[in-house]
Subunit: 311 residues, 2 copies
């Protein structure tokens, strides 16, 4: 990977994605004692940055592969992203989801014409079913976060942010499966002289924090966090990038996530999902370390059930 290759990734996905706006708030700057630039991927197509990586992964396929379609396992934003990207590019998408996934998530995938394939609700059943679909249908498996093309695609959000605000000292992202933060590390490396990347992670699912400490990929025994997009763990494609390039991972408690989310809703007037609030909560918690700095925050998504809020 180099700067030219990342620029090409960005160029080829542009017809399929939004260049999302960057919002600021004087009041939030006062609260944080620094200048905060919110990159609003909640306004991205299907409501999350995942559209970027999914699009890039599908565009990377050969003609033969495209004709066979793609498969992933996800009940979250990547399920919707792969379905929508596939639909726009004219490729079939098969989405392996647990039987007991909420109907609202199944419906979202159906809206984007993804083909749902149900499996038992455990990680092994999920992977086995995806492998079965891959072999039987000859489709290409695309992992939601541990895939080079997905990682490069996710990095384009930070590219746009740094193009508009080259003065950024830091970019904060949430850390789930590691695709977004790894892509952001690459963007910062090639598009800024000085910008460091900081991760926010729930204490209740702090596998990435522990992975950076131990130097190997760690897992979560439980994932009792409201940030449902961050319950996953890192992989062998993104962990080396994260290990080399991430400045720090800051862990936050559940009440800090909810309170950061409420602050953004009330003051920025935008709808963000709990996972997105984790990066901002990390800044709020350690704000004395970022005094007077220029801090970008990637608001990763806005897909939340507005009839069932934590406040």
């Amino acid at each position: 990977m180099n700067k030219q290759a990342l620029i090409k990734v960005h160029e080829r996905i542009q017809p399929y994605i939004h260049k999302t706006p960057v919002l600021t708030s004087e009041l939030i700057n006062e609260i944080c004692d620094c200048k905060v630039f919110f990159k609003c991927e909640n306004f991205q197509k299907m409501g999350a940055f995942k559209m970027r990586g999914a699009t890039n992964a599908i565009l990377s396929l050969t003609e033969v592969q495209r004709n066979k379609g793609v498969v992933t396992h996800s009940s979250g934003n990547f399920a919707q992203a792969l379905s929508l990207a596939a639909k726009k590019i004219g490729v079939k998408a098969f989405i392996v989801m647990p039987k007991n996934a909420p109907q609202v998530k199944k419906n979202a995938v159906k809206t984007y014409e993804g083909n749902i394939i149900e499996c038992e609700s455990n990680p092994i059943a999920r992977e086995e079913m995806a492998e079965k679909v891959r072999i039987e249908k000859g489709t290409t498996f695309i992992h939601p976060s541990n895939d080079d093309d997905v990682i490069f695609g996710q990095g384009t959000s930070a590219i746009e942010l740094l193009e508009d605000y080259p003065q950024l000292d830091y970019i904060f992202t949430p850390v789930g499966g590691g695709g977004l933060i790894a892509g952001t590390v690459l963007a910062a490396k090639y598009f800024s002289e000085k910008c460091k990347v900081v991760g926010g992670e729930p204490v209740e699912a702090d596998d990435a924090y522990r992975s950076l400490q131990s130097g190997k990929i760690e897992f979560n025994e439980s994932t009792n966090t409201i940030a449902d997009g961050l319950r996953t763990f890192l992989g062998d494609r993104n962990f080396p990038i994260i290990k080399e390039g991430v400045d720090k991972i800051i862990r936050v408690e559940e009440e800090e996530i909810i309170s950061a989310m409420k602050l953004i809703w009330e003051r920025m007037k935008i709808i963000i999902e709990p996972s997105s609030a984790v990066a901002f909560a990390a800044l709020l918690k350690n704000k004395e370390d970022y005094k007077n700095k220029n801090v970008g925050i990637i608001i990763s998504g806005g897909n939340v059930d507005v009839t069932n809020l934590p406040f």
Copy 2:
């Protein structure tokens, strides 16, 4: 009023306001069967378009008047707007509010350093108290909607919208006290060859609809609507402009307001208050009349208690 005068109004308030973004959504365009351009005054300073009119009214004062301060009666967005505009310009603001106004609204005014003066909870007590403050303190009374400078200020939102999207066939606004829609009529008249202005109003507070029918200002016997910003009635300064320039007022039921609000929250990922949803609900209800047209909608504000939602 003429085009040059409106341009001057816009220029002088610019240092105190945001040029708010315009958002679009493919999905909402599909639902409405037209192109919709949302002018996001929910992102305006203090969270509503009222900042524009309040700022212009204060900037219109003489030096002597500024030294004495301003007074208004409002427990809604204009109370906050006048307080913040006064603070920024360096003028004292006195806000007459009913004793029983919700504490959250009083706190909002205090945040912006407005001086609250309490009165009994009825329209006569409110006006009497404002008049008392005006006489005793020598302050200038600024009406939330029936004031020329307020009307001109509110019109600047549509000016920005038409400058960015000159192709607009219609602009929809909610109708409360009439300041926003009257200002929008002036903007459309001077900044577009063809753009018509449509109002949205709750059936439960349809005074403006009835005023256009009867040709004189009508009042509401009850105002049992969730759109709390639209319970007021028109005045002698804005009604002539509205009567001459508004194409149509469309009335919507309470459930139509709530459902339009929910659609915007879920699909646009932005927080809008019920009053703002009324204009969009009016378009949804009569969408066959606007097929393939370019329709601007002024999202008037985003000040809503996120812990107490109607869905």
